[in-house]
Symmetry: C2
Subunit: 331 residues, 2 copies
């Protein structure tokens, strides 16, 4: 599966790299994985009466991260979180991960090792073996594409399309922490931030336990993760469900970051991406706990008829809410 | 699943692109695909008592193709072939494809449309719906990562690790056609080749029917596709099976390309990659047809004890055979 692309000059380092990945990934492989790295495909057995879930997400240097801003462990961790969070948003269980990784010539070995430190630490935490992928030379920068294969009891996925007018809108955790870090980085004041000050930006943990709980309890009518930002991800639910939404600005849980005493600006909480929280809806009669698996859950609005998204401001003023996902690291 | 990465400036074209892909991909979706493009994950049901097969492969501009050499249709076609051929090499059936695609700013829409023309034509031919993926801005050049999910009756995959001393070695089709095109392109004589002169380079068709036949008939003890070149792919079988191999140079089927009357140089047939033929072994008592599903099958050598690969020359002279996969398009 790890297809070895051999230029004459690359044979040895690529082989050594694959042998190294294979050795390190091997320890995490579960019994359901018949074949891992070292064949044309990975071979996997899914639980009976389960459906497969599959998601792919790029992590591209200069677009999704910058090497001068993000420690290699954070790049590896965030890469896997992107995939795991999509599984969480379906209420699913992750089974295996696959990583396509293209590396530019001259990248230090230590960078790659630290990338895998971050990646494999998160993989072990959620018992997700790295079962294969592809290794190639990159024409420019580090290029990663994460694939996560998961499963869910047949017919039980929580889709984006299940919201109905009258459903309440909920979100886990707090929003805006990740984009607050971005805002700092873009402002250029500091070239590096301390990851400990912005854990939700550098080492976001996917909400798998919450997603599975909501699916098992039949609580959520629709769900998505907040990878693109609340306004954009809510727009996806509205579009797929054919509904509108009204958010209460004052209810949106805003993160408190670094040594600040006040929460982040409401615009970061509304539009900032990459918090990897869960945004879901539930029928009005469902009682949704204020805390699930140790994670805060907040009601922030209601699904409406029509296709319009609205934001209710502090003094009851209603304005239109446009999807404005936070920009990435592009030029 | 198609995660919409929105920079403010990118919102409209990316949305339009995803809507376009969705519309075009929709027509090919089979009944086993519960959810396609438009959710956090694709949801798929596999046949009962089947195992999942999964493979991922990069197609990176400047590494695996060049825009000035390869028409967009060929880039799309070859991208999908890379994934389908890995499924063929396990004896499996492809179920769905996923495409992560990063596009540089300023890439003409027509290039993207023609890429999908080539990609989706091949997808339809093999009844493989495009079920999702990721779209992003590329920091440099067109970056594609293909994921194919397939399935195979449990325990019936043909692995690289099943070869035993005494097994005969077979290959489908002819070898060296794809690298002969590369050699022409690298020589700089012609900036563009006519795809009709080098169909195995520009539009290689994966050997899915042959792979499935070999699995159903229990004929092959090990198998791999010749994506890296015969010498390198045979080395993978030897390594995974813990065996050696002896090839007869005179038996290796060499392709005849363009308007040439003679077959390609033996070095292209031995080391040239990207022919996407099947290389397999079979126990000595198995009768292997000379043609399977319309494709020529040739016996080219024997699996030996030890780990050494040898090549028997025209006058019986035996020399060591080193894995020397053909180089890609790197600088």
């Amino acid at each position: 599966l790890v297809t070895l692309y051999i230029g004459f000059a690359l044979t040895l380092p690529e082989r050594a790299l694959i042998a190294n990945i294979r050795r390190r990934a091997g320890s995490g492989q579960g019994s359901r994985l018949s074949r891992g790295i070292g064949d044309d495909c990975a071979v996997l057995r899914l639980p009976q009466k389960h459906e497969a879930l599959l998601t792919t997400d790029f992590s591209l240097e200069g677009i999704h991260f910058r090497r001068e801003w993000h420690p290699p462990e954070a790049v590896g961790h965030r890469c896997l979180t992107r995939g795991l969070s999509d599984i969480a948003a379906m209420g699913g269980e992750p089974r295996t991960a696959f990583l396509s990784l293209a590396l530019p010539r001259g990248l230090p070995n230590s960078w790659v090792n630290r990338f895998f430190d971050g990646f494999l630490r998160l993989a072990r935490q959620f018992h997700v073996p790295l079962a294969g992928g592809d290794i190639a030379e990159s024409p420019s920068g580090v290029l990663a594409d994460i694939v996560v294969l998961g499963s869910v009891p047949a017919g039980k996925s929580i889709l984006r399309s299940g919201a109905r007018p009258g459903d309440r809108i909920y979100v886990t955790g707090e929003l805006g922490a990740s984009s607050a870090a971005l805002a700092q980085l873009f402002s250029g004041g500091k070239r590096r931030l301390r990851p400990a000050d912005y854990p939700r930006h550098f080492f976001p943990v996917p909400r798998l336990a919450v997603g599975q709980f909501l699916r098992e309890e039949g609580m959520a009518s629709s769900m998505i993760d907040t990878s693109d930002g609340l306004s954009t991800d809510l727009a996806h639910i509205c579009e797929e469900s054919g509904v509108g939404a009204r958010l209460e600005a004052g209810l949106v849980p805003r993160a408190v970051v670094a040594r600040s005493k006040t929460p982040v600006d409401i615009r970061l909480a509304l539009h900032g991406g990459e918090d990897y929280e869960l945004l879901f809806t539930a029928r009005p009669k469902k009682r949704i706990p204020g805390r699930i698996k140790g994670v805060r859950v907040t009601e922030i609005g209601v699904i409406t008829h029509g296709r319009r998204m609205e934001l209710v401001g502090p003094e009851g003023k209603v304005e239109g809410l446009e999807p404005m996902g936070w920009q990435h690291f592009g030029k």
